[in-house]
Symmetry: C2
DNA sequence: TAGATTGTTAATCGATTAACAATC
DNA sequence: TAGATTGTTAATCGATTAACAATC
């Protein structure tokens, strides 16, 4: 809304709510910038970013404006600078402490630990409801019982969590996580979680997505859908 | 909008566009109905469905009304009947012919073939750009070159496709698929695809989701997000 | 009949688009 | 200066909520 010059705060800095759709597009814009950077460009217009991701140029400018005035009239946006700014906004370079609930999935697919680390998400605790899994080692972590979720999450300052439990436990786990102060949940189950306001949930579940695609197969005119995204 | 009695068509039947958010919630409602069915209930009120998935009851009724008048005043919705109807709407019980592009992922994780079959998605063709993979067998299918995508997709009447290629090939593949008439794409790459109007894209990518969650970690007040929806 | 809950309309809210003055 | 593109406002569009008459 306003530029960040001389102490005038942006919407973002004022804590004004920014829609999830805008945040999803910020990721798209970053993707576009990476593409332009590969082509050795140093400056782009909102129009070029817009075309690359399939939105209108005014929307690109409006989205970016929530976070500050990053461009220069008649010139455009400096790619390296805007990349840096979007990464800051999305906290991409900050290390995030993550809890993982549902040890089996991580035991089956230990490569996930590195995949998370690639995104600066460090798995700091693993929990499981199944008492036979207690104490089991995953990487250099010991599996804890889900009764400890609230306390451990609070003590370690964990802000995000992954739910990879059997479906029937997912909602209980979400309740415990949010009680412990978790603000962001990645839900790998098909369960529709209900969480308090202010907590973000992202769902990643193949079967659920297939269900939605199925509707569009017949040609029920759908357009781009973020997972999302 | 209107009931389906005596030839009066629903929004759905008239081909009026129904928002992606509504379709996502239809899946949620089905989830809730499955839960209620487990508890041996036979009838529910919109209010109960709403509470189970975290929306307002009026929205549940409005969403359902796009597809027909499934409830009875002062009674509610018959669970078995509504389950059946939503499954019809989402085409869940219909077999969908699916193309898969990017053979490596399927070779690495052959269990995906059955996972898709569980959702009535039959993988009818596999394509790859890498000529060294041509003719390779996956299940009972032979890998075809991506030059054949348009023709094969058309001939087999394929309506949906999965893109699991290296990032740099994803947009080209999307272009070929849509040229061949594909109306629904499941995108397993982090690429932001641009597709013609009327084509649905669902993204399933862990790194992209972590990027979005990262924003909400600090407590930038987010609410429920579908990947999702 | 009295009470409950649907289907649907009208009011509100939020997000996108169009347009343009300000700026480089 | 003339031309281009931003940041931002006002207009439009669409989705949610509130409310209620119709129905069981």
């Amino acid at each position: 809304m306003t530029t960040a010059i001389r102490g005038i705060e942006t919407d973002f800095e004022r804590g004004i709510h920014i829609s999830e759709k805008t945040i999803a597009r910020m990721r798209w814009y970053l993707f576009a910038l990476d593409e332009f950077a590969k082509e050795d460009m140093s400056v782009v217009a909102s129009r070029e970013i817009a075309d690359k991701v399939g939105v209108k140029s005014g929307l690109v400018r409006k989205d970016l404006c929530h976070f500050g005035g990053f461009g220069r009239p008649s010139v455009g946006y400096n790619i390296a600078y805007l990349q840096k700014k979007i990464k800051e906004i999305l906290r991409i370079n900050q290390v995030k402490n993550v809890a993982w609930v549902g040890a089996q999935r991580l035991a089956d697919e230990p490569a996930l630990i590195e995949k998370f680390a690639d995104s600066n998400c460090e798995i700091e605790a693993v929990f499981d409801k199944d008492s036979t899994k207690l104490g089991m080692r995953i990487g250099n972590l010991q599996v804890l019982g889900i009764g400890e979720v609230e306390a451990v999450v609070q003590n370690l300052g964990i802000e995000a969590a992954v739910i990879a439990t059997p479906s029937e436990d997912a909602q209980e786990v979400a309740d415990r996580l949010t009680a412990g102060g978790v603000k962001a949940i990645l839900n790998l189950t098909p369960v529709v979680l209900v969480v308090p306001p202010g907590v973000a949930v992202r769902n990643v579940d193949l079967a659920s997505e297939l269900m939605m695609l199925s509707y569009y197969c017949g040609g029920n005119g759908g357009v781009n859908g973020l997972a999302h995204a």
